[in-house]
Symmetry: C2
Subunit: 595 residues, 2 copies
């Protein structure tokens, strides 16, 4: 397969950024100082597990500080919001990441992205000792990455040997009562956490898991409770990039975290995780190429979180009325007359796109406008995308607004999450909703529900004369269908024509996936005539919806009877042509209203 | 009109928050200390100028620090990004807003939201003295608010009298070479800026202007260049809420700015501005009710910027092929046969929703999948929402991917912004695109373009016999239509029936907005027959698309000729019924493919 468009885009940025040769590989522990400064890998993983990899995206390195937001997430999952915030704050400190300092008032570390905060966070992860906590962390990070991660014991040993500053932090924390566990245990667990081996691809999957509300898009496994995701991302956004956090938001505009091994992971919530690995660091301790790549990428695609374009506000796809667009249910002539006169009180709003806050608010104003002159208001949601659960309250309030205007609310195609939660009549699709509205209009107009027609009331036979009708009755059969009985099925031989004398028959067409009602045929109407006319096999299925009486005969017999008098034959054919023309015209009317 | 759903939601939050009675009215200048602590107003304005106001949302107060992001915007507009960043940084300081401090290395104030930075920003606004700069600021803020704002001279006098600290900052800045202008001038201008009188409603409009890419949604006037909008919002996001900035992002997740008069303005980019006014402040200097309202509102509607739900990825509405869905152009029987056999190489992808980064990337993978077995690929964009201009490069790369697979790319309904910018065949709508693809298929199959048919080749007249055709020819008229000539128009009397012998006629229907082609009729076909059959007036318009020859006669004359022999009449009517049935079946096929 040829490369995808984004491959080329990412490669172009990659090639530009590769020219950058400034920065220094981290030297504060010997194991990191050995890193090859030319290594350069980029990976992007989307919330539906689309994946792009360039360069050394599968080269292993230790995760270092990039572990901090993820272990903060594990602490939140273990202790909840309030207990976690008793031990660590969420304010940027304005000081270096390894400063030995606590908030003077609360004795909390400023935030979980500086070492003081990260060591507290590590102590909060599930487990009563070093081994258990390390296993919790490795297992937790592995859920984010979608594969079992391992610890680099050499790097761990090197970290521990040179880790006096972090031991100092541990004892300071314990001195102020911010650490319950054994200092040695916790600080060593923290070093192990920093020594977990990942690749840029792993980090992109971990970022995509945050972008995807806490569910790993590759494994489908939940790695973090949804309520904590925005919290982790917030702390990344304000404190994730050392002393460069403000400028990072200013220039790139995505929550992110970097580490001294040269990795940066950035997240576009709802869309993707992006990871860059390139060891040389700038004076803030951030990967030079990581910053450069993210900045060029963000500008190229305008994905800055603060730069979202104004909502299109095309939430209303179109509006129409029940006199112009009718359900697929066939009606008798008097019923049609009533619906033409009174069907206009049914107003339909067809919705499209995702229903977040802005779109739902705009929809509510469109609903208010449509109330004028309406008896019933149908909101057709089949074409809507995600309806955020938080919008349930807005829908309930919309229902109240509609009711207090004396209008009935009908919701078609409501998603599972909102079904039964909004006071309204619910229908699977707009066709059933329209049919129900039509039934209400007819019932308001006092038309009787049930009729059994004589053959002289069948539209196709109008004006044929009593003698002809008697001949037809003699050769025809009267059949009674119970609800669900088929008159014929797709693929049956097509020879007969059916006159409906009472009841209702659904005409179904199927494509390879499912069957769908394209019309239904009531008293006075005919079905099966096109198949009979053309011969061959049935192209659709006709099934009784209610108890139905039909007169059935072969098309060639009907023609032979009528052919005995040219005027009768002319009449039959004119009726037939008018019936077909009427159906075509109805299809055109519908098209016209739906443009 | 009944209240909108959001009115009730905002009122519910308002009533909950009104119970909060803690906090102290600011006392550092006498004029602020007099504020009534019970005042409480909320306003929300959307990017399409929808507006909600509760409580004291039209009560005037001085803007104070809420002016800072807007004057930072004015400085960016005046000097551009690089020059502005030479004078002021964008990093959170971790210190109080009125700290007398500068970045040790660069001598820049940390950011434009602390007083040191705001005073520098004020000095950068257009003007060579106090009067000119003040006018620039008032005019600039007024553009954001959509009305001419005024200065409260009493508050200004009070600010100046008690403003020693800010004068000290001014001289410190000038000492380090960060201020070119007269210190007195600049600091007094800064006090005037803080003394501009606004209401919560004004601030909501100002926030909505930032949400709307810099264009005031009420006046339609641009208040800030689009490139600077995300920069202003970024600084609000990291530094806008004093020492509470980190926790604000953590809990509320929107860029915001507060001021000591008790105002908070928050922005959901692309959606709305929200302002709360309530004078009592907490220990950080933020309005107690402002914070409480924003937190409850953000949680209720889940509008946290870091909590965006995963993109629905329903960008592909459906796919279908050119053998199942045909253009509205009528074709001859041999043409139909070719299209049935070879039309399946035309693959169509129908797109829906906004095309931001994630949706465009997902579309590109769908395009890659559809290349298999395709000769031509149509992307139908009529139902897409906003296509961000930055996605142009992705579309160009998509075009390259399609081309290198040896497939022709056709774009239907491309928005204005991308027209002519993507290598592809462009068509206004999918119907014209399909027609062009069909023409290519027919031309590949070597079918001749131009034919002039005899009457015996007209489908409706098939099998009538030479004698009948001669009688028809004798009473009929042969007309020649040039492109654009109408055969008849909507509303004309409907009496004649037309046989097309060469050329092409478009059948147009109009609703109250526009006319649209519903079909076109080529050699061998008939038009006008439904109107003639039913009598009355034409319901559509038929216009020659190319030079067209038609045989025209009255329907009742045709019927009279055929009625001379019942077998001929039977044949004519059977042909007519089959023609209509064929059109209905084609409509059903299309419906089936488009489910």
């Amino acid at each position: 397969m040829s490369p995808l468009p984004l491959d080329a885009q990412l490669s172009a940025v990659f090639d530009n950024v590769r020219r950058r040769r400034d920065g220094q590989v981290a030297s504060y522990i010997p194991a990191l100082a050995e890193a090859d400064p030319d290594l350069f890998g980029v990976s992007l993983v989307t919330v539906d597990a689309g994946s792009y990899d360039i360069g050394d995206s599968h080269h292993p390195f230790t995760i270092q500080s990039v572990s901090k937001p993820f272990s903060f997430g594990l602490a939140l999952d273990e202790h909840g919001l309030d207990a976690t915030l008793e031990s660590v704050g969420v304010e940027p400190s304005g000081d270096p990441f390894n400063a030995i300092e606590l908030d003077l008032r609360t004795h909390r570390p400023y935030n979980p992205m500086v070492n003081t905060g990260a060591i507290v966070t590590t102590s909060l992860v599930r487990g009563s000792n070093e081994v258990e906590r390390t296993e919790s962390i490795v297992r937790g990070l592995s859920r984010f990455a979608g594969r079992r991660l391992e610890i680099d014991e050499d790097v761990f040993a090197s970290e521990r040997e040179t880790g006096d500053r972090n031991f100092a932090i541990g004892y300071l924390l314990r001195n102020f009562g911010m650490l319950d566990a054994d200092v040695n245990d916790v600080v060593e667990t923290y070093f192990r956490q920093c020594s977990v081996v990942v690749t840029a691809h792993d980090l992109a999957v971990m970022g995509a898991t945050l972008a995807n509300g806490g569910i790993n898009p590759v494994t489908g496994q939940r790695a973090l409770r949804e309520e904590h995701v925005s919290r982790v991302l917030s702390v990344m956004s304000t404190c994730g990039m050392y002393d460069y956090a403000g400028e990072w938001v200013f220039r790139i505009g995505l929550p992110a975290k970097s580490g001294v091994s040269g990795a940066v992971v950035a997240v576009l919530p709802g869309e993707f995780g992006l990871a860059v690995f390139s060891p040389p660091l700038d004076e803030h301790g951030n990967s030079v190429r990581g910053i450069a790549f993210a900045e060029e990428f963000s500008q190229r695609f305008r994905i800055h979180l603060m730069g979202r374009p104004p909502t299109a506000r095309r939430v209303v796809r179109r509006t129409y009325r029940g006199d112009a667009v009718r359900s697929k249910r066939g009606r008798t002539a008097p019923e049609n007359a009533v619906l033409r006169e009174h069907g206009g009180g049914t107003h339909v709003i067809e919705v499209q796109g995702d229903l977040g806050f802005g779109a739902t608010e705009a929809l509510s104003r469109a609903v208010q406008e449509e109330l004028d002159g309406a008896t019933r208001l149908v909101i057709d949601l089949r074409r809507s995308g995600t309806i955020e659960p938080a919008m349930g309250a807005m829908f309930r309030a919309m229902s109240g607004m509609v009711e207090s205007a004396g209008v009935e609310l009908i919701l078609a195609g409501l998603p599972q999450t909102l079904r039964g939660r909004v006071p309204a009549h619910e229908f699977v699709d707009v066709d059933s909703a329209l049919e129900w509205c039509e039934d209400q209009v007819l019932s308001d107009a006092g038309l009787p529900d049930e009729v059994i027609l004589g053959l002289d009331e069948i539209e196709l036979l109008a004006g044929l004369g009593a003698e002809t009708l008697e001949r037809i009755e003699n050769v025809a059969e009267l059949i009674v269908l119970e609800p669900g009985d088929p008159a014929f099925r797709e693929g049956d031989p097509a020879e007969h024509i059916y006159f409906v004398r009472s009841g209702l028959v659904d005409v179904l067409l199927s494509n390879h996936e499912r069957a769908k009602r394209v019309s239904s045929v009531g008293p006075g109407s005919v079905f099966g005539e096109i198949g009979a006319l053309e011969g061959g096999l049935r192209s659709g299925t006709c099934i009784a919806k209610s108890k139905t009486e039909c007169t059935v005969l072969r098309w060639d017999e009907l023609r032979a009877i009528c052919a005995q008098d040219p005027a009768v034959l002319d009449r039959l054919y004119t009726n037939l042509a008018m019936t077909l023309a009427d159906r075509l015209r109805k299809a055109d009317d519908e098209r016209r209203a739906l443009w």
